[in-house]
Subunit: 682 residues, 2 copies
């Protein structure tokens, strides 16, 4: 659904319903803001008491307006909200900004009334932002429909929290950032993230899009919209809250909607090519850095400093952020050495070792050499630069050289290798020169490192496979049915037979190779209940175990299986969940039954092909266990990846399945084999 | 060695040797600073050219001074440095601050000359700071012997980097912090960290000690000095650089001394009860928070906010920092509900949900309720507080109530449950009231969370066992000797026999239970070289493996061993290293041969007793693998801990051993048994 949002972002005429003369009321603040755009938009104010508001005449009702209206801002008390919406629809508005809260946030009755209202809005061909929102701003069309003013600039800010938006705006100013459009999402009863991301991506005044979201309603639509924005050159930075269990409690109490599962949101960001951050400061810092356009193509960072302390700390912080500070190649070292003095260290960190204090232009020369080097992907300058002109250390006379160096660095940085600068003197004239030239300057080294890490372009461009058409729903989801379904989808299993009586068991054992595993079926957690017996060396042991399980658990059936040699490989978990918002997801993890303790998992939107499945396996923190190490042979990662891909395709074709799991999948040097399976229907 | 440092921190008379009239010279800046203390100290200036410096008369040589001198600052060029030191020693100085660089930082000859000079200093009964340092300051005795002024306050700053110290000073001011004493460590040729920590701990003007260090020379002495400071009520915060491999490169180029291994430094901080941080900002933030005195006694944090966005993000960030945001108990919820309005969420995060905007005193009431609650250890307030008086959002008239709330919160916070406040308006009058009352206020939520995490008191008070007297050096360190030595120290091993010929092997097999393991001895990495064959089912298989290994590797000897069932337990690594600075250390890790990939290790200063060993095991990230889970029984942690303690005691008694290792130690439900051992002599 692509709707024309011109009436929202650049209306010819605006009415503020609930405009108030009382400075303590929202209706006053919004009217005050709206009137700032009076040169571009015809603006009317409605208040049922009439009179004047902010020196402007007020009409008592929407009906009394003597001209057509494109857009209505509604800031009336809850009791009059629906009536006001109907009135402006009757007046022919094409867009509504619904600030009023209290309708759809809680209770089934409220939500039903909100749904009915939205139907009327849509039937009238209008769009609605909110309700329960802080408003809408377009700084390039002088459309100021919020209680707050937002500093103009190139970032479109879509926020599910009003206070967060105000904080972000405050963080923007010192970073030279501003807002092109601001939309407070509110209840997203009509207009939601998906349409708004699309509308902002096509806005010429918008350079990047910032999203704060607790609840991604249409997950796949969000991925598509973000992908499209990123593909057409508008980066998207996502601050998605609710990763913690306590955070989820907070989110529920906030918007009355469930928080999307954090791992799925991260997978969606990865699939869409969005940059994910976790705090407002990181959001602002990343947006500041994106103004450079260039993003690190890899993890190798050159550190440039004068005086060891800052360089050493920078290396520690970069490595902790997942980046590398490799020793520079001989050629780069020679280039650096030729332009610095003999004390300088040119390995990496590059330490001017006093050359900066002799001549601040040393920084610019070293920086230029590093810009030329092909053995690093980004440059981090850290420490004293910015202080040479201040006389801070009793030294004087270095100001002009530092100023020249700053100009040179800003010129050399422009549009080339990405740069971050940490300075003890971030507000110094030299650092202001850098910032004005588009170089991101940070007061704290960990912020500089975090931005380099966050903006590093992943090894592979973002991509997500379409969800296939649903297959017929499964008739049964018991253990054997699950095994059969997965096997049919292409997942290899250990040989097994479902049996009931001891006679059947004895017969089945003849067709299988000892040692055996006996599983009591029909239990939710077989292992936990003691329903799985392994290492049964022969038929006698098998029959004895059967007799014991019959006595203890009286299960309806058993599975007798060949026992795999767990010592020959590695146990993985492969699972999938049908997410209410993002659809099919796939999970791989180390450790089989110990996965929860190890916490080494990767989640992606499903389905994935075997290449993407292999990449998921490679992203595991302990992926090196899959390789040859300490005398153990390399494991068959392609076979494991094929199994993961098969599971994910199967899951993506089955919206009738809520959760499914192969646990463990044993990966050996010569294949991958499933040892257990489980399917939970919706 | 406890020496009297009065002549350093409060000298009756001072001479600045190398005082300069040239504002571009260090000798000018230092003289300028020193003269600020002229009311308390007699100050002389020496410059071989004579004349005047900064309006003061100058003598041409130390010999010409007409009065005795307590302390000399030496800021002459390198060529005249030793002569200057000898001259001031002849004049009877008791303390020397050696700013001059170039002597001991590089080259064997320079270090030898430095050593000789220090001998002369010590023979004269004097102490020396540096050389190659930025100076010494005591703000409470008006002793200003550095090129830079440092804002007065309660923190003693001991720094191995001059620039870092200047940055820390700049970070202190906005946090209401200042410096009692500053010592730039330089080469630590005479006075080092250990003595200086002790001297600052006994300084009445010092409330806390901040250390920036790349190279802890006397590790055990440092632990003792820091422990003593902490025990007597002076917290110590340590920023130790050089955690990364690249950082170590930088450190080497900086001070010409090796960087201590990061894990050992962290272990030392833990043992000493120091708070370790990794960046200058974190150092300043933690020191700011320590002014509250109260530190979190546990990980449970209550989040207080108005408006869900900030609360949700706070929960995410706290959990990412290793803290918990537990649901509040019914009683606490009732207390909160009684003082807030019905929309407010009282579970945790506590979300005023608009009550703050109605009445900012709601924050104070909720805060007071949380201060009373015994189900949380700390309180984190986050979001809009501070903005109600600014008219930022168009609302007005809330200033007085917010101001009263801030006063109430500061009063309630004082000396009780530790608090951190994040505000969108950190510079607002309300936040200044909080800060003036000792409440740490942060602009960024991740900084607030990091400080709560860093200052949380560990479950156990700091403690380190003394290093025992050395045992006689081992006569041999081959495989069998290592096994025997560990076994004698109390570590259980699988049964094994060292054999040479096939005949010996066959005989030995009779005394062991099949299946067997055969190890070719005399190879550095037996497993990697294919020198270990496992799963030999009977004597025939054993003899065949022997023949193969003889042919392939021709080892001098073999070990034939009973094979343990790896599936019955978990493989650990237990190791130890004699650190050149910190002495014996002990390591435990998950995964046996896979330890490096898993990266789940704990390091402590050795020796440890079995209680501390058990705590190390419990601190492993995946310690839950030791417990009963998913049908697997709990493992014998006490047995593993006894083995770790035995290894650590053995290692601590053997300075003749550089490294030792038991890998793997197999922990089963009924014990722990070593399967392999290795000792590397110095």
């Amino acid at each position: 659904m692509t709707r024309d949002l011109t009436a929202l972002f650049d209306p010819a005429s605006i009415v503020v319903v609930g405009a108030s003369a009382d400075p303590a009321k929202w209706g006053n603040a919004v009217a005050l803001q709206a009137l700032r755009g009076v040169d571009r938009h015809a603006i009317s104010l409605v208040n049922r008491r009439g009179g004047e508001v902010l020196g402007q005449p007020v009409v008592r009702s929407v009906e009394e307006l003597d001209r057509p209206v494109d857009l209505a801002v509604i800031a009336v008390p809850e009791a009059g909200f629906e009536e006001a919406v109907d009135a402006v629809l009757a007046k022919g508005v094409r867009a509504i900004v619904a600030i009023t809260a209290g309708l759809g946030e809680s209770g089934q009755a409220g939500r039903a009334r909100q749904d009915a209202l939205i139907s009327r809005v849509r039937d009238a061909g209008a769009v609605l932002v909110g309700p329960n929102c802080l408003g809408v701003v377009d700084n390039h069309t002088a459309t100021y429909l919020s209680s707050n003013a937002f500093r103009p600039g190139g970032v479109a800010l879509l926020s599910q929290s009003g206070n967060l938006a105000i904080e972000v705006d405050r963080l923007f100013a010192p970073r030279g950032l501003g807002i092109s459009r601001f939309v407070s999402l509110g209840n997203q009863a009509d207009l939601g993230l998906v349409e708004l991301v699309g509308a902002c991506a096509s806005d010429p005044a918008t350079e990047s899009i910032a999203v704060y979201v607790e609840d991604v309603r249409d997950g796949r639509g969000f991925v598509e919209a973000v992908s499209a924005a990123v593909d057409t050159g508008t980066p998207v930075v996502v601050l998605a809250a609710g990763a913690s269990s306590a955070g989820a409690r907070g989110a529920q109490s906030h918007t009355g909607s469930l928080t999307s599962d954090a791992a799925v949101v991260s997978a969606a960001c990865r699939a869409a090519g969005a940059i994910q951050v976790h705090t407002p400061r990181a959001l602002a810092d990343v947006l500041m850095s994106l103004r450079q356009r260039a993003r690190p193509g890899g993890r190798r960072v050159a550190v440039l400093t004068d005086g060891g302390g800052h360089g050493v700390i920078a290396c520690d912080v970069l490595e902790a952020a997942g980046l590398e500070v490799p020793a520079l190649t001989g050629r780069t070292q020679q280039t650096l050495a030729a332009t610095l003095w003999s004390q300088s260290s040119v390995t990496n960190p590059v330490d001017l070792a006093g050359a900066g204090e002799q001549d601040p232009q040393s920084y610019a020369r070293a920086f230029a050499a590093l810009q030329q080097a092909d053995d690093v992907d980004a440059i981090l300058m850290t420490g004293y630069f910015g202080g040479y002109s201040g006389g801070e250390d009793g030294l004087t006379g270095l100001g002009p050289a530092e100023s020249a160096a700053a100009k040179q660095i800003a010129a050399d940085a422009s549009g080339r290798k990405p740069v971050a600068v940490q300075s003890m003197f971030p507000d110094s004239p030299a650092c202001r020169t850098l910032a004005d030239g588009g170089v991101p300057v940070f007061a704290a080294i960990e912020d500089a490192a975090a931005v380099l890490a966050a903006t590093t372009v992943p090894a592979r461009s973002a991509w997500v496979e379409p969800v296939p058409v649903p297959a017929p729903a499964l008739a049964a989801v018991d253990y054997t049915a699950a095994r059969d379904a997965f096997a049919a989808a292409g997942v290899p299993f250990v040989k097994a037979r479902e049996v009931g009586s001891a006679v059947e068991l004895d017969e089945a054992a003849l067709t299988l190779r000892a040692p055996y595993v006996l599983k009591a079926l029909g239990l939710l957690h077989k292992s936990d209940a003691g329903g799985v017996v392994v290492g049964l060396a022969d038929r006698a042991a098998l029959l004895a175990a059967h007799a014991r399980l019959v006595e203890q658990l009286a299960p309806p059936a058993f599975s007798v299986e060949e026992m795999a040699d767990l010592g020959s490989g590695l146990e993985l978990i492969v699972g999938g969940r049908w997410d209410p918002r993002f659809g099919p997801t796939v999970l791989v993890g180390m450790g089989g039954t110990a996965t929860e303790v190890l916490g080494d998992v990767q989640v992606a939107l499903g389905p994935v092909d075997e290449h993407e499945a292999a990449r998921m396996l490679r992203r595991l923190r302990t992926a090196a266990l899959l390789d040859e190490h300490r005398g153990r042979p390399a494991l068959d990662v392609p076979a494991a990846a094929r199994a993961v891909a098969a599971v994910s395709r199967f899951a993506a074709a089955h919206p009738d399945i809520a959760e499914l799991e192969i646990n463990p999948l044993l990966v050996t040097p010569s294949g991958a084999v499933a040892l257990d399976a489980r399917i939970v229907a919706y």
